[in-house]
């Protein structure tokens, strides 16, 4: 039996960390497979990952090749070789592959099938302008797409089944890939195909059950759900018009969730009996939701991919802490190792190492490095496509895997007392509040189309609501960003999530900081209020206090509680006024230098043993002077050199470096 655990994966009774790396068998000469896999093992990996692209194996409609014509497509042979070397394998059969393949792994006859294509609001297709060929984006609502996918999967079944189970190497399977409308996630770009509109009506009928209920919310007189036309843009005038548009945005989420359900059903027909995961591309906002993905039956873990720029910490901190706060297992199924060819810059081995360790420091538990082996349209990996070693990347991975495994980094965990809840509905509002959404006509540095800034389409209305009308993309929340920055400067650790996190998980935190605006669902207001009334808990909200529910009926649960002094609620209207020092949470290590980020990870096995992570996020060497009220022994396990002076522990940290220290707490002399 194989299952995910809180820290990795259990394979037939043995728990191990989930550290994996990608290799594309069909893009290598079969004769090189063995040497390449040996290099991978030598770096310390015992799990690899591979896509299984549809267009590669079904080379013409109805004609398949699994190695008889092109030896490099010998999937069975590749998996046998992995087994012989003791490697476990994660498979990702798509149908969405990307992998810088010309049609993202879909066969051409699939994408050119009009019954499968997504449609824009004006009835033509939706173009994805990939650097080697523009192609039409398929519709997630097309039943034909899933039927065709299933037919391909049935061709894979004998091979995948052979290599699953007690003696097989396959341990995990991914349901589709980055299911986010091909990065075109704004609501009015697509999908207006017949199949999608049918699904939209189904969504409405499930949500409202009867048309009268919908009419009451919409202030409309529809006779049936089928009579409702999908919006092409926002043309409301007053806040009461909003529910119709919210429903379209929520339908776009439903379409993706439904697509994942369909894919899991297809995967179930393979009868592999292994866990299923999904990788969200980058969105912690509509139309994606890690928590709701994980509520899908048989979808065990939803991770998120990460391709940081050199020295990036902002994206990584937000994404990894969101996963740490929201997912069953903070997993990055694609963490950039090397890069696609049409990117303006590659990361050095040192820059990559910083990103990986910074992510672990922020709560990353499981990772697949994408890619370990270079291939067509990808470079900057530890191993070249012809089996050579790129020493800087190779040595970095040898050292990294060594330290991760030797010290069981996955067995330590952060213990933040603060949870920041983003307002998912405000993201929805910002998404829907657009006159139209033109498709993006760019993709990476070679393909730069005549795109139009989205802000041009923001309506100029006063909806008489307290909203987040600051600049930026709809995923941004200026209030949350400012509060986070103040917590960072005070070295307070926190996780991110949103209203879809099950309430039982809220209780793991002492403080919830919730972004709240003029409207909020009644249930969520009630849950926040209940949290504020729980002994020892504090609720901090801002920048506004909600007065309406999402159907725009008066709903002032939090307002009333605040007025009555009921519950422990603090309102921070202006995030600049937020005083982290008043939280009185206590900190084990105090560091005056705001440029240094600190994270303490606690051992699951030995409570007195901790790992202290120190990150210098700047381009200058920084000094960390750490004070701690308790007695402790400290020793470096990664890149640390330090000394004690005046009851402080002092260490100089080079630019963009993470140091890891092992701390063993001692009994206080006074105790």
């Amino acid at each position: 039996m194989i299952k995910f655990t809180e820290t990795g994966i259990m394979i037939h009774g043995i728990e191990k960390p989930l550290y994996s790396g990608s290799v594309h068998y069909w893009r290598m000469n079969k004769e090189k497979w063995s040497m390449v896999l040996d290099h991978i093992c030598a770096m310390g990996f015992d799990i690899i990952e591979t896509y299984i692209p549809w267009s590669v194996h079904e080379y013409e409609e109805g004609k398949y090749d699994f190695g008889k014509i092109d030896p490099n497509k010998d999937l069975d042979g590749f998996l046998m070789l992995c087994e012989s070397k003791g490697l476990s394998v994660i498979v990702r059969p798509g149908p969405h592959i990307n992998a810088e393949m010309t049609l993202f792994g879909y066969p051409v006859w699939i994408l050119m099938d009009e019954e499968i294509q997504a449609k824009n609001p004006w009835g033509t297709t939706v173009v994805y302008p990939y650097v080697t060929k523009q192609f039409p984006i398929p519709s997630y609502a097309s039943e034909k797409l899933y039927d065709k996918t299933k037919a391909f999967f049935m061709k894979l079944k004998p091979v995948l089944k052979k290599h699953s189970g007690e003696k097989g190497c396959i341990i995990l399977i991914q349901a589709d890939n980055e299911t986010c409308n091909f990065f075109r996630d704004r609501p009015y770009i697509m999908d207006y195909s017949e199949a999608s509109i049918k699904l939209y009506h189904q969504f409405l009928s499930i949500k409202y059950k009867e048309i009268g209920r919908l009419n009451k919310v919409y202030h409309s007189t529809y006779v049936n759900f089928e009579g409702i036309a999908a919006p092409h843009g926002f043309y409301g005038k007053v806040k009461e018009d909003l529910p119709y548009y919210f429903d379209w945005v929520e339908y776009k989420e439903y379409q993706i969730l439904n697509s994942l359900k369909c894919m899991i059903s297809v995967i179930d027909s393979l009868e592999l009996g292994i866990p299923v995961f999904h990788n969200c591309a980058y969105q912690d906002y509509t139309p994606i939701s890690v928590q709701r993905d994980e509520q899908i039956e048989r979808l065990d873990v939803a991770g998120m991919d990460a391709y940081p720029e050199p020295g990036d910490t902002v994206m990584l901190r937000r994404r990894i802490r969101y996963l740490a706060g929201s997912s069953r297992l903070p997993f990055v199924p694609e963490f950039g190792s090397g890069s696609w060819f049409d990117r303006e810059i590659l990361l050095t081995a040192e820059e990559e190492e910083f990103g990986y360790l910074y992510a672990i420091m922020n709560g990353l538990k499981a990772v697949n490095f994408y890619m370990l082996v270079e291939r067509d349209r990808w470079t900057g990996c530890p191993i070249t496509n012809d089996g050579r070693i790129r020493s800087s990347y190779y040595e970095m991975f040898c050292n990294l895997l060594g330290i991760m495994k030797k010290n069981s980094l996955h067995q330590y965990q952060r213990s933040p007392k603060i949870l920041i809840l983003r307002d998912y509905d405000m993201g929805r509002f910002r998404a829907l509040y657009s006159i139209m959404d033109p498709n993006l006509l760019s993709s990476n540095c070679f393909i730069q189309g005549p795109d139009i800034p989205q802000e041009l389409f923001i309506p100029d209305l006063d909806l008489q609501l307290d909203l987040d009308d600051g600049p930026g993309a709809y995923c941004d929340d200026g209030w949350v960003d400012m509060v986070s920055q103040i917590l960072d400067e005070s070295h307070y650790d926190y996780n991110y999530s949103d209203q879809y996190l099950p309430v039982v998980k809220w209780m793991e935190y002492k403080i919830i900081i919730a972004a709240t605006y003029g409207f909020m669902e009644r249930d969520i207001q009630e849950q926040l209020y209940q949290f504020s009334k729980t002994k020892g808990r504090i609720l901090i909200i801002g920048p506004h206090v909600p007065r309406w529910d999402k159907e725009f009926n008066r709903c002032e649960i939090l307002e009333t509680a605040i007025g009555n002094g009921d519950g422990n609620i603090l309102v921070v209207k202006n995030a600049d006024d937020f005083e982290a020092g008043r939280l009185e949470l206590g900190q084990q290590f105090v560091c005056e230098n705001p440029e240094i980020e600190i994270s303490v990870h606690y051992s699951r096995v030995t409570p007195k043993v901790q790992l202290l992570y120190l990150a210098n996020k700047t381009s200058n060497t920084e000094t960390a002077r750490l004070s701690c009220e308790k007695h402790y022994r400290i020793s470096s396990i990664w890149k640390g050199k330090g000394y004690r002076k005046d009851n402080c522990f002092i260490t100089n940290i080079p630019p963009y470096t993470v140091q890891i220290w092992k701390v063993e707490m001692e009994e206080n002399k006074d105790d």
């Binding site: 824009n120 033509t124 192609f135 060819f341 810059i345 470079t379 070679f446 100029d460």
Partner: protein, 230 residues
């Protein structure tokens, strides 16, 4: 020009990381002002670097004084004025099924050409910035009419190899991109690599060999001259 099955392989990371600098002379850094005329006739303007531009002072009746806009905003090189109907027509047109017959580079160039021809979209450019699509420039720079040849780009920075690139054209299509890493067993010297390219591809070789600074200068000059030709 770009073959949909193009192979991109043997990219040496230490060289390929300079790609952004190498294509920079062909890419546009100046700003574009996007103006949307809404259903009620009002205008809304925002630049490509996301700055809102108040337009009242430039509007008389329903006319926008473009020259005055250019005069007051010297960082703006192009103004695009859209009606919603114009945009609908444009996005419908550029996503019709026939576009999948084109190569991606031709499609990209067409995105700009169709924009200029669409009723409801008006484009105003400064005299000295006539080129709108960098792919068109890049295409002419690479002399895409070459039927069968290899272009070997070899750039040095103060004598030290900075970037190289081997572009294989076959029947006017760009079929393969690689770097000297494809000959990893030999010294990374121009003459050696040139000989190996000649031996492997058996095609005419066109070399672009120069210092980085000279390349950037000539790239900028090339762009400026191309602007004049338009």
């Amino acid at each position: 020009m770009i073959d949909d099955g193009i192979v991109v392989e043997y990219l040496k990371p230490e060289l390929w990381t300079n790609l952004g600098i190498v294509i920079a002379p062909f890419t546009r850094k100046e700003h574009i002002l996007h103006i949307l005329q809404r259903w009620d006739g009002s205008y809304n303007g925002i630049t490509s670097n996301h700055l809102r531009i108040p337009l009242d002072q430039f509007i008389t009746g329903n006319r926008i004084n473009i020259q005055e806009l250019f005069r007051r905003h010297c960082d703006i090189i192009e103004v695009r004025v859209y009606t919603i109907q114009g945009l609908v027509s444009y996005y419908k047109d550029i996503q019709k099924s026939s576009v999948y017959q084109q190569d991606i580079d031709d499609y990209l160039i067409d995105l700009y050409c169709i924009q200029e021809k669409t009723k409801g979209i008006r484009i105003y450019q400064r005299e000295e910035y006539r080129n709108r699509c960098y792919m068109a420039l890049l295409k002419s720079f690479l002399q895409c009419r070459i039927e069968d040849a290899v272009i070997l780009i070899w750039l040095t920075d103060k004598g030290r190899l900075y970037f190289n690139c081997i572009l294989e054209f076959s029947s006017t299509k760009l079929k393969r991109i690689s770097t000297s890493d494809r000959y990893s067993e030999v010294e990374e010297e121009f003459e050696t690599i040139y000989d190996l390219v000649q031996k492997e591809f058996q095609k005419r070789i066109i070399t672009i060999k120069m210092e980085l600074a000279e390349y950037i200068r000539s790239g900028v000059l090339y762009v400026a001259e191309a602007e004049k030709r338009l």
